[in-house]
Amino acid sequence: MLSFFNILLLLQETETRVDLMKRAAVNPDLSKFLVIGALLFIIGVAGVLTRRNIIVIFMSIELILNAANLNFIAFSRYLSAMGNVNAVAGQIFAVFVIVVAAAEAAIGLGIVIALYRNKETIWVDEIDLLKW
C-alpha cells in the first residue's frame, strides 16, 4: 500500500506523459525525423505489396528510397550537431541513393514499356509467364 502511494506521489511530482509528449512535439529531434522516415518507408512497402499497377509499384519504390534518404540526412545533421566534422558522409550517401534511384527508374520504365508492347498489360497479376 505504501509503495502504491509512493507511485502516486511520484506521478504527481514528475511530468505526466502528455506533458512530455507535448515538449517533444514542440522541439522535434532526431527521433521524429526517424519516425517520419519509418512511416514513409512503411507506406512504400504497403504500396509495393498491395497495388496491381506496375507504375505505381515503381513510385512506391521511389518512396522507400526517399525514406532511406531522410534517415541518412537526419543522422548527418545529428552527427554534425554533436560536433563530428566528417558528418557530410550521410549527404554523400544520399547523393548516391538518388543516382541509383534515377538509374533504376530509367531501366524499370524501359522494361514496363517493353512489357506493355508484348503483353498489352500493366497489371502485375497478369504478368505470370514464369508462374508454374
Binding site: F33, S60, L70, I113
Partner: protein
C-alpha cells in the same frame, strides 16, 4: 539537434504533408494522380532536408526527382493505357487475402520500427549524455564563425562546399562507378524501349521478317 520555433512548426507541416501525400500516392485510383501526389511528397521531403541543413541534397532532390524521374514516370503513364483504371472498371489492389496479409505485415513492421527507434534513441541519449541545451549552444558558437549573408539575416555555411570536396576526395571511386552505372542505364533503357521494327533494322534484318 532539436528544432525550435518556426523550424519545429515547418517540420510538422512538411512531415505530415509528406506522409499524407505518400498515403494518397498509394491509394489514388488514377496513376497520374499518384504521380502528382508523389511529387508533393518528394517536395515535402526536400523541405525536411532543408530543415536538416542539407540544402544541396534538397536541390538535387527537386532537380533530379521532380524534374527528371517524375517527368519520365508521367511520360510512361501516357504511353501505356490506364483508361480502365480511371473508369473504375479494374480493381486497383490485389485480391483480398494478399492485401490483408500485407497490411498485417506492414503493421507489425511499423510497430517494430517505432519500438526500435524509441529504445535506440533512448540508448543513444544515454550513451552521449550531452544535454540538448549545451549542444545547441555549441552549435550556435560554430554557426557564428561563418560569414553573414548579404541581408544579414542568416549565415553562409560551408556545408555544400564540404559535400562537394568530400565527394571528390573521399568518394571519387564510387562517383566514377555511379557515372558508369548511369551510362549503362541510358544504354539499357534505350535498348529496352525500342520497337521490334527498330530492333530488326539495327540487326540488319528485313523488318517484315517476323511480323505476326
Amino acid at each position: 539537434m532539436t528544432l525550435s520555433g518556426y523550424e519545429a512548426l515547418f517540420f510538422w507541416i512538411f512531415g505530415l504533408a509528406a506522409i499524407f501525400a505518400g498515403l494518397l500516392t498509394v491509394m489514388a485510383r488514377n496513376a497520374v494522380h499518384s504521380a502528382l501526389f508523389l511529387i508533393s511528397s518528394l517536395i515535402s521531403v526536400a523541405a525536411l532536408f532543408i530543415l536538416a541543413r542539407a540544402e544541396f541534397i534538397a536541390g538535387v532532390q527537386i532537380l533530379v526527382y521532380v524534374g527528371g524521374v517524375m517527368v519520365l514516370f508521367l511520360f510512361v503513364i501516357m504511353l501505356v493505357n490506364v483508361g480502365a483504371e480511371e473508369r473504375g472498371a479494374e480493381e486497383i489492389f490485389n485480391n483480398q487475402r494478399q492485401v490483408t496479409a500485407s497490411l498485417i505485415f506492414c503493421l507489425l513492421l511499423v510497430g517494430g520500427m517505432l519500438y526500435a527507434i524509441n529504445t535506440g534513441y533512448r540508448g543513444l541519449q544515454a550513451r552521449y549524455p550531452a544535454t540538448p541545451d549545451a549542444v545547441a549552444a555549441q552549435e550556435i558558437l560554430r554557426d557564428e564563425a561563418h560569414a553573414p549573408s548579404a541581408t544579414g539575416s542568416s549565415r553562409i555555411t560551408k556545408d555544400t562546399e564540404r559535400v562537394g570536396s568530400s565527394l571528390y576526395r573521399y568518394a571519387s571511386l564510387p562517383f566514377e562507378i555511379a557515372s558508369i552505372l548511369l551510362l549503362v542505364a541510358i544504354i539499357g533503357s534505350v535498348m529496352l524501349a525500342r520497337t521490334l521494327k527498330q530492333e530488326a533494322s539495327a540487326d540488319d534484318v528485313d523488318p517484315d521478317f517476323e511480323s505476326p
